[in-house]
């Protein structure tokens, strides 16, 4: 990874990178120097800098952070910053590393954001299952409080802010920002409706709240130290900087990589020596999920697309959380589809009818097909149930051989949040492309002898 710019991953291999001393003495920049610079600027100047750098959100939606901060209604106080460290999207593994290996980078990012937005409190919401990350952050926060980097009159200025470490208890949906807020209020993590509950206006305790992903905030120290120009010099114009991608599945070298945003293609990522070094030995790419389990699938035709938000959504999927799951020809499309649908069925919060009932119905039908009890009407039933969750044409990649055009992202929804519609992604993706696999299981009762599991 030598010639890749290291904005957020520069201390991952430093044994002391997670300590305050290590943060100050290792990595691609000096820890807490950015905070000092930030405090010398006005909050407005700082926000302008972040906005000017087009720091895109890394949690999934890819919304520019600086623009989001600007949505807080003027004159309404307090404002809260909530850090989304709930990382649970299948395929995604990046925020955990950031928290475990470089906690001070995240803390400094929080401080910079809090100063710019005007937050008196920051809640760092870490996924419940990540005990090690919680521990590392707790130690780092204790160090930072002791060093007057957090708390009252930080670095002797009039800037005071608390960062409270909080953790969840296991529920994927809590990654959705309004569910995260509900959870932080001590409730069941069920999403709120947007409108009217846009967090920037009515968030935590109904007060203006900015929810940002861990990686988004981790970019801030480097960005503030190096400035807009240095940041935008990396990546594409629409998507500057780098981003972390986690590539898993059937590649020779799965891993988390920091790549320039917007310019790197999937092919480079899969094949380049710096990255995954090819599809696993002797196998061919069958399909890949370009942005987490919620994303519609891509196929070999899409491999030359760059990891650029607009391009990917135009092609029928999304960059999402930067989670790329690669599947070779040994993969059973129905089985993979069932596994992802089962995930959404299990993780549906149950608040809205179509998702609560629809996802578990989808799972039951798919399970039945897998078990050899499929009925011919099941495929249409699946598609129609999907249509009742996400009405109208569902985003899907083009299939030139079959003369099918791409349907761009995002999908429509009868649900409250995108979780329900996400369950449709594997269904429409798999059925449109591999209908024959479903039919084979249904009509021939022929359990195609494909294991989605075997090591190569």
């Amino acid at each position: 990874m030598t010639d890749t710019p290291m904005i957020v991953s520069s201390r991952w291999d430093e044994p002391t990178g997670h300590t305050l001393d290590g943060y100050r003495s290792t990595g691609s920049y000096t820890g807490y120097a950015a905070l000092e610079r930030a405090l010398s600027m006005s909050p407005a100047e700082l926000s302008a800098e972040v906005k000017g750098a087009t720091l895109l959100g890394r949690g999934g939606a890819g919304f520019p952070a600086g623009v989001k901060w600007g949505f807080c209604p003027p004159g309404v106080w307090p404002r809260y910053l909530v850090v989304n460290g709930d990382e649970s999207e299948p395929g995604t593994y990046k925020d955990r590393i950031l928290m475990e290996r470089d906690p001070h980078q995240l803390i400094e990012g929080c401080l910079i954001a809090a100063y710019a937005i005007g937050c008196a409190q920051v809640f760092l919401y870490v996924r419940g299952e990540m005990a090690h990350a919680q521990e590392r952050l707790a130690v780092a926060l204790n160090e930072a409080y002791a060093a007057n980097l957090v708390g009252k009159n930080i670095m002797g200025t009039d800037f005071s802010v608390d960062i409270v470490l909080h953790w969840g208890a296991g529920a994927y949906i809590v990654g959705e920002e309004t569910a995260l807020i509900e959870s932080l209020e001590g409730n069941r993590g069920m999403p709120r409706l947007k409108p009217p509950f846009f967090p920037a206006a009515k968030g935590l305790y109904m007060k203006p709240t900015i929810v940002n992903n861990v990686e988004t905030l981790a970019n801030l120290p480097w960005l503030v130290l190096n400035g807009i120009e240095a940041y935008t010099a990396i990546g594409s114009e629409a998507s500057p900087g780098t981003r972390l991608v986690s590539v898993s599945g059937h590649v020779n070298r799965p891993g988390v990589f920091e790549i320039p945003q917007g310019t790197t293609t999937y092919r480079e990522l899969f094949e380049d020596d710096r990255y995954c070094r090819g599809i696993r030995d002797g196998h061919e790419l069958k399909m890949f999920i370009p942005g987490g389990a919620s994303a519609p699938w891509f196929f070999p035709e899409q491999i030359d697309l760059p990891l650029e938000g607009k391009v990917v959504s135009g092609a029928g999927s999304m960059l999402g959380s930067g989670a790329i799951v690669v599947m070779d020809e040994t993969t059973d499309a129905v089985k993979a589809c069932l596994r992802i649908v089962r995930f959404f069925a299990r993780e549906s919060c149950g608040k809205c009818t179509p998702c609560r009932e629809g996802t578990s119905w989808e799972e039951k039908i798919l399970q039945r097909i897998m078990d050899g009890h499929g009925r011919p009407s099941d495929i249409d039933a699946l598609l129609d149930i999907a249509d009742n969750i996400s009405p109208g044409p569902y985003p899907v990649a083009s299939h030139p051989d079959a003369g099918l055009e791409a349907i761009p992202f995002p999908p429509r929804q009868t649900t409250i949040c995108p979780l329900g519609p996400s369950s449709v992604a594997p269904i429409t993706s798999a059925i449109r492309r591999f209908r024959h696999e479903f039919e084979a299981k249904i009509t021939k009762r022929d359990l195609i002898a494909v294991s989605a599991g075997a090591h190569s």
Binding site: P195, E357, T359
Partner: protein, 867 residues
């Protein structure tokens, strides 16, 4: 789910297009409501106009175009905005609604034939109207063990539940008792209680009513009837004086169910459980079904003819004793309809000629105070941003739905509420401030508060300081504290805030109607003083009226105890259990030569009567009733009274005849017409007027008639027939008043000379006797579902006091007042101030009223450790 749409808040009228038709909506109004108000009903399950919308069920999805093309949006969450274009019937909408219904049905048991809700089930109805024909579901449905009792009265069948969040939202945001909750997640989500902690809310029955399927059922109604067998009429609950509107539903001449009606000024569709399940007492086997007369130690059934004859003879002989008309006294009347109350007033004051008449049993406030203070309606008290001074009993226990309204006003509408009470109440959690006072000192505490005293809770002082819109809820906080001390507090409020307006906090069902009808000493029908109206009624009724003000309940019972009352008539009154001084009530009843009781049950008092006349109860008589606001609404007859029990007014007419006088009326209509003609506060409130459209919620007395016109000369020619509440011209409210053309003036409050309260004895405690929703009173004891709900009596004391006595919660204590004492378990309660002890009324015969002397302003007790 026939809930009416939310009343729009008038902001700015805007045009919205629904299905091609332009309608007028208010900016910010929810689309689902605006559509319904304009004739387009959008199907829904989770939306309830009286609760926060949650947008969960997704049934109300419609296509909304705000300029960026049509998109499916939940109409229960979308606020109307200018130029919005809405389609509620497009193919996309149909498809989405079909989809939602199918999703709801896949796990629904479809056991409609055995479900209580079958026939009135929104899920069933909407499936017929909007649903897909056939089910594609071949998987196994969700299963739960059969119904679980989530409380004493409510069952939950989780299989039928569609997770609309109505019951759980109600429990949390309306009732304030979040004891049922969603549990688990996703498709496994269920509504449940915490183990061992049932949904014991005073308002639990409402969840049965608002459940859009048959998941929640009420024990008293389960499997009793099918909706299509039920007949219903609208009426007004008589469980307490709030006057919630209800439907009275029966089948085969038996009451089976009451449901709340959404009356905007009063109950918003809610009922308390005591009211909702009150029909059980009416159906009770123990109801009196015919007259009884004493034969030795026993009361034996008699013919009406004989019983009425005996009663008339007793009255006649009473009149012939040396005491004159005053030797006959009438206690009670709050159970009556307005018309029966008026008939009793006419009989007592016009025929018998006694003014020893009192509808209250020493547990209320003097009639001239209740009727004479400037009044406020519930809506006025609950005005958003208003300031409320609450001086009365625990509203959650005694005026439950008023409690809901007050809670809502404070919690959601920004009203400030300052409680001045002897101990914290069920409302204290929401109150801006709760100021506790030692019994007897309400007046001085209120005066100091309004004066901005630095010694008191500053939040309370700040809330009241400079508020120009103070409304006051005024009732009797404790039976052990005299009415006089509360009257003094009212006087202090009037002195400090002359503009303050009052809402009565008296609890007994139609006490307001009874007082209005003149069933109080010194009063005559129509909210007028006896002295002012003597001539008016003399000419209208033909003479014989009392010449001086009579005795109240305390005076009557004292006189009876001293042998000065010959004939004591108890009209639905049970002084032995209800009068604060039990010993005096017992002596009074023993001291009267003849006691005549007119009642629906044998009570502690009527058991000791000589003649018992069986009366028809609620649901068995029609007429009108008056709530705490002075709001008159209609009561409907739905079933026939048991046996030969008769309506009170009919008994009165008969008694009058036997006393040699024709009352001049022969049915409810006649009485109502006479009241509208003669009784000043009733001017123009005729049966037709009440039946007119727009008056479904009743009308508040007196009608807004300019006093000079209504209560002095009304030139007949200028009078118009029908007042128009909304008319711009105040003159439009002028009413027809037939002869006599000059009506006496309505009573107004005159502050009495303040009473002196003894200072507390340093070692003693001041007793507070409060009422609770569930007690061991006659009505509840006759309601199978509620009879077990009264908790055991305890003496609640401040933890510090308890500790000083060296006791822990549960230890038995002896409360001693003079030579009387009772023993109770103690209970530590930080909501009770030091030096005060709170004991609930109506648990057993040796209750706290055995300690109280009606001659004292307060009741001081010593507390000892009981051996």
């Amino acid at each position: 789910m026939s809930e009416p749409p939310r009343k729009p808040v008038m902001t700015e009228a805007i045009a919205v297009t629904i299905n091609g038709k332009e309608i007028e909506a208010q900016k910010g109004e929810l689309l689902i409501d605006a559509a319904q108000r304009n004739g387009t009903y959008i199907p829904r399950f989770c939306y309830h106009p009286r609760m926060t919308p949650v947008g969960m069920c997704r049934m109300c999805l419609v296509e909304v175009d705000t300029g960026r093309g049509p998109a499916l949006q939940p109409s229960c969450m979308i606020e109307c905005a200018p130029n919005m274009v809405v389609d509620t019937e497009s193919d996309n909408v149909r498809k989405a609604q079909d989809g939602v219904l199918e999703f709801l049905l896949i796990n629904h048991p479809l056991d409609c034939p055995v479900c209580d809700k079958g026939g009135e089930c929104p899920l069933q109805d909407q499936t017929m109207a909007y649903g897909p024909g056939e089910s594609r579901w071949v998987e196994e449905k969700r299963h739960y063990t059969k119904p679980i009792a989530i409380s004493e009265t409510v069952y939950l069948d989780r299989e039928r539940c569609i997770l609309c969040d109505r019951c759980t939202r109600f429990a949390d945001e309306v009732a304030g008792d979040p004891l049922i909750h969603f549990m688990d997640r996703g498709a496994a989500t269920q509504v449940n209680t915490f183990p061992g902690e049932p949904f014991s809310s005073y308002f639990s029955g409402n969840v049965v009513q608002i459940c859009p399927v048959g998941a929640l059922t009420a024990k008293p109604y389960r499997f009793k009837a099918r909706p299509w067998d039920l007949e219903q009429v609208e009426s007004t609950c008589q469980g307490c004086s709030v006057g919630c509107r209800i439907t009275v539903e029966s089948s085969r001449d038996r009451l089976l169910r009451y449901n709340g009606v959404d009356s905007d000024p009063v109950n918003w569709g809610w009922l308390c459980d005591k009211g909702r399940f009150g029909f059980e007492a009416i159906n009770s086997e123990d109801r009196l079904s015919g007259p009884l007369v004493r034969s030795g130690d026993a009361l034996v059934p008699a013919h009406w003819n004989d019983a009425l004859g005996a009663a008339a003879a007793a009255i006649t002989s009473g009149l012939s004793t040396g005491g004159g008309a005053g030797a006959v006294a009438v206690l009670g009347g709050a159970r009556l309809t307005n018309e029966s109350a008026y008939a009793w007033a006419k009989l007592a004051k016009g025929v018998i000629g006694t003014d020893n008449v009192d509808a209250q049993l020493g547990d209320g406030l003097p009639a001239d105070v209740v009727l004479g203070l400037p009044t406020a309606t519930i809506d006025e008290v609950c005005t958003p941003g208003g300031v409320i001074l609450y001086l009365g009993p625990d509203p959650k226990e005694e005026l439950p739905v008023l409690f809901l309204r007050l809670k809502h006003a404070v919690e959601r509408d920004g009203a400030k509420l300052v409680e001045v009470v002897p101990a914290r109440t069920g409302l204290s959690r929401w109150a801006t401030a709760t100021v506790t006072y030692p019994p007897g000192e309400a007046a001085s505490v209120v005066a100091a508060l309004l004066d901005g005293s630095a010694d008191l809770d500053q939040a309370a002082v700040a809330a009241l300081a400079g508020a120009t819109n103070v409304t006051v809820v005024l009732g009797r906080p404790s039976l052990a504290e005299s009415a006089a001390s509360i009257v003094d507090a009212a006087a202090a409020i009037v002195a400090a805030r002359p503009e303050a307006r009052f809402l009565s906090g008296l609890r007994r069902s139609n006490v307001m109607g009874a007082l209005d009808a003149g069933l109080a000493p010194g009063m005559l029908p129509g909210r007028v003083r006896r002295a002012d109206a003597h001539d008016h009624y003399t000419s209208a009724w033909g003479g014989g009226l009392p010449e001086s003000d009579g005795l109240d309940a305390h005076g009557i019972l004292t006189a009876a105890a001293e042998g000065r009352i010959d004939t004591l008539i108890l009209v639905g009154a049970d002084p032995i259990s209800d009068f604060p001084d039990r010993a005096l009530a017992e002596r009074g009843i023993a001291g009267a030569r003849t006691v005549i009781a007119i009642d629906t049950f044998l009570t502690e008092s009527s058991r000791r009567a000589d003649i018992v006349l069986a009366a028809a109860a609620f649901g068995e008589v029609s007429g009108t009733t008056t709530n705490i606001e002075g709001r008159v609404s209609r009561l409907a007859q739905k079933v026939t009274a048991p046996g030969t029990a008769r309506a009170d007014w009919a008994i009165v007419i008969d008694l009058a005849a036997r006393l040699g006088r024709h009352l001049g009326v022969s049915n409810v209509e006649d009485i109502a017409a006479e009241m509208a003609r003669l009784a000043p506060s009733w001017a123009n409130v005729t049966a037709e007027f009440l039946a007119a459209s727009g008056h479904e919620d009743g009308v508040v007395l007196p009608l807004p008639v300019s006093e000079t016109v209504a209560h002095s000369e009304v030139p007949e020619a200028e009078a118009t027939a029908e007042p128009e509440p909304d008319a711009a011209e105040p003159d439009a409210d002028v009413v027809v008043v037939e002869a006599p053309r000059v009506l006496p003036p309505l009573v107004s409050f005159v502050a009495p000379t303040p009473t002196t309260i003894p200072s507390p004895d340093a070692y003693g405690f001041r007793l507070v006797v409060n009422r609770t929703m569930y007690d061991r009173g006659v009505l509840l004891s006759n309601s199978p579902s509620s009879s077990g709900l009264a908790d055991a009596a305890t003496a609640r004391m401040n933890p510090v006091d308890l500790e000083t006595l060296g006791l822990v919660t549960g230890a038995a204590v002896k409360l001693i007042a003079g030579d009387r004492s009772i023993v109770l378990p103690s209970r530590s309660d930080a909501g009770v101030p030091k030096g005060t002890v709170v004991v609930p009324h109506h648990r057993s015969e040796s209750g706290p009223t055995t300690l109280i002397s009606a001659d004292h302003q307060v009741c001081d007790v010593r507390i000892e450790v009981a051996s």
